[in-house]
Subunit: 222 residues, 2 copies
């Protein structure tokens, strides 16, 4: 497999950093190719705007999503957006490694979604969900939480706005998430246990079944 890890943590010594390093080690050890988008280290700009394009379409009314469509047709995405798109197109599997903040993505990773999963590139013209433009790829959320596991009795449900509303919307098949709960409050043995559990998940990734979400037809969307 070709695996892209999109990693959103400031501190390389964090538990998120340890999970990212472990994923690189296990997956390369299995013979997969791995690339990492280290958003903090790259200084990734999460703000969507005119700087996403090397030139504008010339439309009378500037609308960001319309410019995304035009940029896809004209090849005028800015280099930082294009680089992430290229890695995404290359990948068979994408691991999103992040701490849950406000039950959602840290802004730096939300902005990756806003800018890279562009209209016309990841979805558009009726192409979404099972017909999304990234169909054939798989994705998994590998996260940490601040609160204990009891706060997240069904992690896939807590992450549904991301797993279903963003990733599956683009056509990606989404694997069950992996969560490490409150690692900062755990002792070394507990943290080692979390990493061992993640290692086991990583070793089985290639054979893991995605979460079953309805098709457009099943949702009555034609």
């Amino acid at each position: 497999m070709k695996v892209l890890i999109v990693y959103a943590h400031e501190n390389p010594a964090s538990f998120n950093g340890a999970m990212k390093d472990l994923a690189v080690e296990v997956l390369t050890g299995q013979g997969h190719e791995v690339q990492v988008s280290d958003l903090y280290a790259q200084g990734f700009n999460p703000v969507a705007g005119k700087h996403d394009f090397t030139e504008l379409s010339g439309a009378e009314f500037y609308k960001y999503q319309a410019e995304q469509v035009a940029a896809g047709e004209r090849g005028t995405f800015a280099a930082d957006v294009r680089a992430e798109m290229d890695k995404l197109l290359w990948a068979d599997l994408v691991i999103f490694q992040f701490p849950m903040w406000w039950f959602h993505l840290p802004a730096i990773l939300k902005g990756w979604m806003d800018r890279v999963l562009a209209s016309g590139f990841a979805y558009g013209n009726g192409q979404m969900f099972d017909r999304g433009k990234l169909a054939g790829k798989r994705a998994i959320c590998a996260i940490t939480t601040g609160g204990p596991a009891a706060f997240y009795p069904d992690l896939a449900e807590s992450l549904k706005p991301i797993m279903f509303g963003i990733l599956y919307f683009t056509g990606m098949q989404v694997l069950p998430p992996f969560g490490a709960h409150a690692p900062v409050q755990a002792d070394d043995a507990a943290r080692a246990g979390m990493l061992a559990a993640y290692r086991e998940r990583l070793e089985q990734l290639a054979a893991t079944e995605p979460v079953k979400y309805p098709t457009m037809a099943e949702m009555g969307m034609g």
Copy 2:
């Protein structure tokens, strides 16, 4: 009332811009005081990081949320974060004006939540939901969507991760949201109708009842 409008759109000529301008006009016309945080115009940085603090706490392990707590105690938040906190503390009512992107906040506004609604400032030490540190304030989401109204049969439910999971978590009472659906595809008359409906909502804001969310006690959280 003292009203803060946190506004997250790049284009002043957008429908979001028109809604923001209308809110300023109506609320000042009613005698309220209004401040606007224009995140794009301010060049607001949504990325949480060490730059949020004028100095670090000196803790052996750098953890962002712990640094937030320390910065609140020591008065060491960076100027851009402090400025937003001051406006928030000043306000009785906060209007969040934004386009829904990926069923959630644009990254520039998600980062405002990550950085400004800091641990120790907006919540912490068991102070959350009805006991949150921003209790007594009210908030409303005023949004635009790309899709038609039929995609959002219950807008308060679509926005629950923001309304309940973020705003109410800090103690704010959250008013029913206002949504303008697919204004970019509407004709001028339809857009004028949306603005007329928003004007009516704005005129009644002071008397609007918040959405009823459970208290910590009702959620079994002691």
